[in-house]
Amino acid sequence: MSNSTLVYSVETSNPFLEEVMERSGQNLRSCYQCRRCAAGCPVGDEAVVTPDRLIRMILLGEKEESLKNLLSWKCVACYTCGTRCPNNIQTARINEALKQMAKEAHIEPVIPKVASFHSAFMKSVAHFGRSNELEFMGLYELENFKQGGVNAVMDDLKSTSKLGLSMLKKKRMHFTLDKTKGRSEIKRLYKKSAEKRGSKE
Amino acid sequence: MSFRDILDSGKFAVTAEIGPPKGTDIKEMYHHIEVLKGKIDVANVTDNQSAVMRISSLAVCKIVLDNGMEPVLQMTCRDRNRIGLQADLLGASVLGIHNVLCLTGDHVNAGDHKQAKSVYDVESVQLLKIVEGMNNGKDMSGNEMKGATNFYAGAVVTPEANPLEPQLVKFEKKVKAGAKFFQTQAIYDMEKFKSFMAYARKFPVKVLAGIVVLKSAGMANFMNKNVPGISVPQVLIDEIKAAGKEKALETGINIAARHIKQLKDEKICDGVHIMAIGMEDKVPMIMERAGLL
């Protein structure tokens, strides 16, 4: 964390804070810094910034740092922080909001693979209405390739192909594609979602 | 030039301390005299410093003198009554020792003979008056003596004491009682010292600022806590801390040199009194860095 002085004013910090609050549905202001969330965060050691500090950064208007924080990407969405929060703040939801805001602001993902994974998953669902491992893995590696080139893909394939192989062996993977018939409905929902996001940007 | 002449000439004087050892082995002390000789102007010989018993200051003054350096006899009122003090002053005079620094002396409580009976028959101000009287050929009771003394008398003052006002009253008394020069307690805060000097300059006396080298941040903190009248500003402590353990002494020496240089360059006082406390070897280095050698 940098040690420079932070000039605080409500006028400058509020727009960002309000947006995070609105998009995450969390009342960050109610935080009284008990730091239970930090203590309970399973990825606290790895994430550098713990939920309490992330909330504080947003409260005090450190917009850029918030949008680029590692926690949002390391977060496993276990909801431990929010479940135990005496003020009912779900940092996992804040993380989701921040990642979306980062994307909209064209900020590079801090962990590209995480972005690829979820975006691939969502694309896969959009195609068939259901998630299919093979197709999803294909899409994921494609996303990975976009983000990190061949090396990223090779790196990943080494571990995933091993798993895939044993999944095959244990008859836990299937080749027929599971599909939902009412895909048009799902497409409409995707479109609606895109519209909603568009109206915000 | 005698010490009196040096000061009167306006030269920036440098004095340092020779601490007599406990016991008869005086090899190391000889070494210190060698190191300092020719560099400093005069050497103060301490008198059972901190109430710890050692070789008498009078004897050591004689050794210093014999080795080619001018001594200042430090004399405290703790261990001798008025008869003893006068007798020793006469003794010093006939041995050719003509500088005397009149002190009250640390309480026996501080030293290595805590059960001793403190004397304090007279104290520093009165001792100064005794010296003045003897210089005029009279002992303390007003009896004429055969042959007067010719002492150059000095005293001490603590410019950073808390509270300061009573000390200043005493300073004035010392001047009145015949002190010609003052060697101060260690000073670290230049601004405070300057304001003291602004006051002291009203009196016709020479002032030598006390310099004690800070060996570590710990020592500074210790002195702040335990030594009356010394206050090391936080910035200096931070400076030493920032230098790290290895470089602490080096930094302390630099600070001392820097202070001495400033005192001299800005003509703040008439000289410095370097209390090396076991680091007599380093005195020339300090002087060198202060631009005095």
């Binding site: 964390m1 004013s9 006028e11 239970r36 203590a39 309970g40 135990r84 | -």
Partner: protein
Amino acid sequence: MNDKISSPKKGSVVIVGGGIGGMQAALDLADSGFKVHLIQKDPSIGGTMVMLDKTFPTGDCSMCMISPKMVEVGRHINIDVHSLAEVASVEGQPGDFKIKVKLAPRYVYPEKCTGCGDCEIKCPKKIPNEFDQGIGKRKVIYSLFAQAVPNTRAIDARHCLYLTKGTCRLCEKACKAGAINYEDKERVIEINAGAVILSPGLDRYDATVRGELGLGRWKNVVTSLQFERILSASGPFKGEVKRPSDEKHPRKVAWIQCVGSRDSHNANPWCSSVCCMYATKQTIIAKEHDKNIEPTIFYMEMRAFGKDFDKYVERAKNEYGVRYQRAMISAVREEPETGNLMLRYADEAGKLIDESFDMVVLSIGLEPHKDAAKFAKTFGIETNPYLFAKTSPLCPVQTTRDGIFVTGTYQGPKDIPDTVMQGSAVAGEAMALLSEARGTETVHKELLPERDVENEKPRIGVFVCHCGTNIAATVNIDEVVAAAKQLPDVAYVTNTIYACAQDNQDMIKQVVKDNNLNRVIIASCTPRTHEPLFQETIRDAGLNKYLFDLADIREQCSWCHMGQKEEATKKAVKIVKMSVAKSRLQKPLKTDYVGVTPACMIIGGGIAGMTSSLSLADQGFDVHVVEMEKELGGLTRNLFRTLEGNDVQEFLKATIAKVQAHKRITIHTNTQVKKTEGFVGNFKTALSNDTLISHGAIIIATGGTEYAPAEYLSGESDKVITQRDLEKRIASGEKFNPRARFVMIQCVGSREEPNQYCSRVCCQDAVKNAIAIKEQNPGSQVIILYRDIRTYGLREDYYKKARDIGVMFVRYDVDKKPQVEKDGDKLKVRTWDYMLNKELMIDADWLVLSAGLRPHPTTEGTGKMYKVTRNQDGYFLEAHVKLRPVDFPTEGIFVCGLAHAPKNLDETITQSLAAAGRAGVILSHERLAVSGIIAKHKKELCMSCLGCFRVCPFDSPYIGEDGKVAHNEVKCMGCGICAAICPAKAFQVNNFRDDQILAMIDAASECESGVVGG
């Protein structure tokens, strides 16, 4: 109140709940001429306080403090304790309620049971002991704890083998008093009373609900109350600090604060007010029990808001090495092999630390008791959303139903002194309501004339009690009887199974008469509980009560030497011998009486003094209010709204009007006290306006002042104002710029040397004003720089509200205080944010300083005048910080309001009502009895060294007109300190004279002269 009451008011009061608050109210009322019915759901009174080991800050044993009060309640002729009882319905109106009370069967005849406990030993079934919080076990026939009042056993019908399965009856066989009654049935009684006081006490948060904390899961996780029992000498580990899993001595022990409190998401939103301090106390006591313990307290905010609390916390830190870690714990995990508990927390720098502890204590919060909702319905009162009884800060002990009052934790979370204070306050309110009926339902005992025995040779009767098997199982009673018969002046000796049983009381009276005895000794249990009873017995037989002596051969012999029959018997004989030696020298003592002037002088005409004066005047006493300023109101004049939103100025105006209109109240404004002489019941005071007043009691309500800050550019910029200034501006309707930027700094002039105390009101004031500003202009910026936010109790709601509406809170440390600079007509504030570990720079249009409170400048003089002491900070020191929060050691003088310590308006009002209640107790007596056990001063021996004068806590020795020491016996409490210190032995305490004590020592040592060994 209600002036349409047609039927005359009743002189009795029903008190529901016999915890410390209920007991205080009961004693105050019963001592001042009201009949009291104390309804207690449990088999014993005592409440929560009896479960505690020690109380802070004095470290007094909780039981030792409360037990005498319980005995007093139990024995009081005008208090009926109905235990195992619940109120079923309340009908009627203030002054005349009809209360139906359901009495659960006890299965023991209370009048026959002596409390010896023989039945309990025989009972074959053990169940978890709720009193020890389930850590230990108890029998099915039981008393809640050893010192229970009433001291009768009860059978727990749910578990009794006979009552559930029809076999056993072992207790019946064991009981020599024939007190077991398996046929007992539930009964309903009806009580007609003038007022009802609710003091049902509290429940504690059930932390098993939060599984992550491991309570009930990991053995070495205990609640704070369980830990209290672990610390207690009467608890499961006899006071040794052990952990439950393996009974090993824990080294590292962690306390986790706010368990169940300050958590609007998962638990209770309020602050329980007491946990910070009890945890601190527990760490200190734990360290005192076992110096190897290393306590750590994990906390959010140290809410040491009370008088001398901060100092206590500092002591814990500095003297006991208690570690305070500002961090909350998310989960407690047990390490499988060791049973140790792993805690993870984020330190101040944000670093995550795993630390293993041997034991974890959960500081569980307070809740309204479990059936609070039902309770409210029964009594027809409203509650707040959290089910605490609904009250107003301006009428803090009144429920929504007239004539029904509330005290203690049912009104909101609070600690012991606040509860005791409310106890006296409700008593005062009930006295005021029922003043005309005072004395109508109380009874007095008619006594026989005393027999003159002054010139008789001593004829001593000795009764040696078996106490069931309590004594007899260890001490050979026959041997003691035989030995006693050999002693000089002993005329009669017998033994008895239970000396205290009703039939034996009659026997003793008869024996005294038949044998013409003039001294009585009963060798039995402790004088603490039984001496007054036996004194009464011999008084009934026509003897002066001071001719009685109790030889304690139970607590001091059979109980502590169990299994050592021979030695115990020898010791019992010696104890009896000592008692006889003393008894031979006993003299009848006179009980003197002094009259009481039924008027009170109140120094200070602020809200404290006025509240006291109205209560006392309503109670029917004359009141003189002495106010040095030209108008009434004190500091309350600067207060506009309470945190809860009440209009304070309106209230003040109404109060002043009431005081001015009351015919019993005389107001002396622009006046000071010149001199007061006299003693309790009989004070005479000269005022500076040359009035001379006679009064029986004094209330010191001299108030405090607000600190005028010198810090943070105060006085250098008109943009730097105090919280009080801001409140005034808001109240006067000032419109601030909608985008105005406020920075508030807390603890200005508080909580640092030389004022190392919390001013208690500032956090609320800041929150109150911050909310007001944000509500006026949501776009304004309000930042509160604080050290700990101390919105204790239900005030926490407002702290949350302030955050929710966008007030920003930034903590600062005393070592790194905010820096304020002028920047044109604006201000710049720099402070450190501990969450981001960086400096914050904030521009401010207004800097609002939360300046603390200070004792009033007259406090010192007043203290000297009445010889009442003050604490380090200059506030008056009460007689006992826990149990006598409005009394002074000097009888007849009371304190309330800011003169006592910083406090909020509702607390000042409560304390003022309490002071009025306490004063009312004294003023209601026509005369006051002076105990016979007092020190006697022999002037001819005295050399006026002033030793006594200096040490007497009651100021009874004084320097007489002849310049020598004299003694005012009315003030003497018989403590004996003077006798101990007097180098000339000029003081002797009646019945504890040197010759008596020496005779006892000689009797014990059988050493006749000063020669030994020869």
